[in-house]
């Protein structure tokens, strides 16, 4: 590491022998910041490696599955290590080289479009992204939602293998598959009845790609303040797209206490009652 006294006063070091050394320095500099480094590495070289591995066709076919061919580009895009325009060009180059029809890359471009859409909305709304865009469609008043996240959720001790697994991954790696984000957000807002803002702040603390616009407006989409109905999932949906990896080891999956083991009609009735959307 470059010794601090060889730098102008107040300049932070920029040479480290290892990630462990970087982590130790960061702990000293930012003692208020919890946790350690993510296994996901920052930097343009890492971003280029991830970009070179992108397969738009496989992405389009499998992106909703936890083990699908997702790109892992989001942290780099969020921080401008790669611009959306650079990724767009890489997708077009892939189409030229592969000879695939344009349709093969349509889904990936569509998802890049979501990022552009959220940024455009942020320009328009500013800090308004922290407020409900529309009334909730759950039949519950905003005021009836808890302001804080429950302790068992934060401690990954809800007893639900999926939810606890997502929390652990969020806390250790700072990255979650989009589907896991949706399930976790839906659980927090609809099953635990916590204000979406508490969940949004939690994600922004940890996600390497934590972008207030993408994050908050997606939480609002789940909550139903930016969509026509609340987003719900059930066990069958989670089991299908997770390949059953959580349910296999989950006590709740076999003892009849899984809160997601129901039809969508049953869940809507249980969570939103008669006035809930259909």
């Amino acid at each position: 590491m470059q010794s601090a006294d060889s730098l102008p006063p107040g300049d932070l070091p920029c040479r480290f022998a290892s990630r462990a050394e970087l982590e130790a320095t960061l702990r000293q500099l930012f003692p208020e910041a919890p946790g350690g480094l993510s296994p996901i590495q920052g930097g343009h070289r890492a971003a280029e490696t991830a970009l070179a591995a992108v397969d738009p066709l496989a992405y389009g076919r499998s992106r909703n599955h936890l083990d699908g061919a997702v790109t892992h580009l989001s942290p780099y895009i969020r921080h401008g290590v790669l611009s959306l325009a650079e990724v767009r060009e890489a997708v077009f180059t892939w189409l030229e080289r592969s000879g695939e029809p344009a349709q093969a890359a349509a889904k990936l471009l569509n998802e890049l479009g979501w990022r552009d859409y959220w940024q455009r909305l942020w320009r328009q709304l500013g800090d308004g992204i922290w407020h409900d865009r529309e009334p909730l469609k759950t039949g519950h008043l905003s005021a009836s939602y808890a302001a804080e996240l429950p302790a068992d959720l934060l401690e990954a001790s809800t007893g639900l293998a999926c939810i606890d697994g997502f929390t652990a991954e969020l806390h250790t790696s700072g990255w979650l598959h989009n589907h896991a984000r949706m399930w976790l957000a839906s659980y927090v807002v609809h099953w635990r009845r916590v204000r979406w803002q508490a969940g949004a702040r939690w994600f922004l603390q940890h996600l390497l790609d934590g972008d207030p616009a993408s994050n908050n407006l997606s939480w609002q989409w789940v909550a139903s303040s930016f969509s026509s109905k609340p987003y719900l999932f059930n066990r069958a949906n989670l089991e299908r797209f997770s390949g059953g990896r959580y349910c296999r080891s989950c006590a709740a999956a076999t003892d009849g206490t899984c809160p997601f083991e129901a039809s969508y009609e049953q869940l809507q009735a249980a969570l939103f009652g008669e006035v809930g959307p259909c």
Binding site: G10, D11, L12, P13, C14, F16, L22, E23, L26, L29, F30, E32, A33, P34, G35, G36, L37, S38, Q41, G42, G43, H44, R45, A46, Y76, H79, G80, V81, L82, S83, A85, E86, R88, F92, L95, A102, Q103, L109, N110, L112, G113, W114, R115, D116, Y117, R120, W122, G126, S173, G174, M182, R201, L204, Q205, H206, L208, G210, P212, A213, S218
Partner: protein
């Protein structure tokens, strides 16, 4: 601006940052925003990721009050202005204003994903995408027919 410094921020941590491209070799600074880190409760993972991105850039790293640090960096290099990349975060606008009160600031725009004439209807993604998708495919060199529109949103 003959002798600017570059203000690099967290939405522009790549080598194609318009500031680094427009002013190669100009002194550049990134400031870890202590107030934001404390207020948002950011984890070390996030700070470490940003730090690793910065280690690959020709940039001086500081921490503290962003506007004060950028202005002090400009004084240190006897700069006649500050060049930076536009950021969407409203926090950026406040910092920009504080810096611009003391030195000229040049705002550089990153290349857009898709150029759409205003106003763009953003009430739902589908409305935006109906406008954006054909323009996007039209950009493709030697573009053939664009794909059939995706009608079903799965999110």
């Amino acid at each position: 601006m003959l002798n600017p410094v570059l203000w690099i921020h967290g939405e522009a941590l790549g080598p194609t940052n318009p500031g680094l491209v427009a002013y190669p070799g100009a002194p550049a600074v990134f400031v870890f925003d202590r107030q934001l880190i404390a207020q948002a409760g950011l984890s070390l993972k996030r700070l470490g990721f940003i730090y690793e991105c910065l280690l690959e850039l020709p940039v001086t790293l500081r921490h503290g009050d962003v506007a004060e640090e950028v202005l002090a960096f400009a004084r240190r290099h006897r700069a006649d202005g500050v060049a930076t990349t536009f950021a969407v975060d409203p926090r950026f606008a406040g910092l920009h204003q504080r810096i611009a009160a003391q030195l000229p600031v040049q705002l550089l725009e990153p290349e857009p994903f898709v150029e759409l004439p205003e106003p763009v209807d953003l009430r739902r993604f589908s409305r935006y995408w109906r406008r954006a998708e054909p323009v996007l495919w039209g950009r493709r060199a030697g573009a053939g027919a664009p794909p059939a529109p995706v009608r079903r949103w799965d999110r």
